[in-house]
Symmetry: C2
Subunit: 186 residues, 2 copies
């Protein structure tokens, strides 16, 4: 999930959206009727931020509490993809980013579905990454405080897959869903 | 974690940040020297978005794939908190939002630490929430397709807490850390 920022008449918007990446291009998609897609179609400057929260860092002092995380903030220009071939390719990139192996198994978009979908090409011009890892760094004199300190790992985890009520194949999920935890760990 | 959006000379920025909420006010904090804190101190329009991803929704057609999620997009004005009492109160609100029960156990911020910390008051003027739940909605003619469909739940989960190497109390984490999964489920 990326948080995509853009401005309309001086008012900033931040909209969560799924994405895929191909080299220095990010692709977003959405209903052709949506406000975000219409705004991003106009070639405006935008920002896309992705954040993974890895752990809470508990120190002895309030001040030194922190979070371990990885984030990237990318700046660039958003443009509408109008070429149908690039559009199909972009949707595959988004799908394979989210669920590698899924695209080839499902019904591809029809021309009508493709028309109802807007695809945005976001060209990354500049990006910065931030990472924090490791334990708390307390002030030396605070280490004697009788308070628990440490790190609490946090991770997005898959639960048990629920087959659709009208499924007409073996309800056991495919390999790429059974192993989804490894996708999230990347 | 909130994604906070603001614009500087027409360039949108989206920065991930921890937050706390008190009625219709969100509080953010950071180093007084950080660019985000400096920009948000100037009374500018901003946007704060929080997103929880609940599950992947796998349909028979690429087009009907979706995500179950809950998100809120809040618009408002950001301002620097300069009153030291409100500043301390805001830091407690952020801390208790993240780790309820923690604030009273740790060393409170010193005057020097308070000076090094900027606190932003973000007054929500308008907000919109979006929620998707439930199974995939395929086109009727696609239900016969021999492809797995269903929902894969996703949730941020705590792992096993790691006590700090220099801990000088019982290394068993406090109740509010052992039960952190219930905090995340709220």
């Amino acid at each position: 999930m990326a948080s995509v920022g853009f401005s309309v008449d001086g008012q900033p918007f931040v909209i969560p959206t799924l994405y895929g990446r191909s080299e220095s291009t990010l692709y977003f998609h959405g209903s052709a009727a949506s406000r975000m897609m219409k705004q991003l179609s106009t070639g405006i400057s935008a920002c896309a931020t992705v954040t993974l929260t890895d752990s809470l860092v508990l120190a002895r002092s309030a001040f030194h509490h922190s979070m371990n995380y990885r984030s990237v903030v990318a700046f660039g220009v958003a443009q509408l993809v109008s070429d149908p071939a690039e559009k199909r390719q972009a949707l595959e990139v988004i799908s394979e980013h989210l669920i590698p192996g899924r695209w080839s198994e499902v019904r591809a978009p029809s021309d009508k579905e493709l028309k109802a979908t807007a695809v945005i090409r976001f060209t990354i011009e500049e990006a910065s990454a931030k990472v924090r890892t490791g334990p708390a760094a307390d002030d030396e004199e605070d280490y004697v405080m009788p308070v628990w300190a440490g790190v609490l790992p946090l991770a997005l985890q898959p639960g048990e897959a629920v087959p659709d009520a009208r499924i007409c194949v073996n309800p056991e999920p495919p390999q790429y869903i059974r192993n989804y935890a490894t996708r999230l760990a990347r």
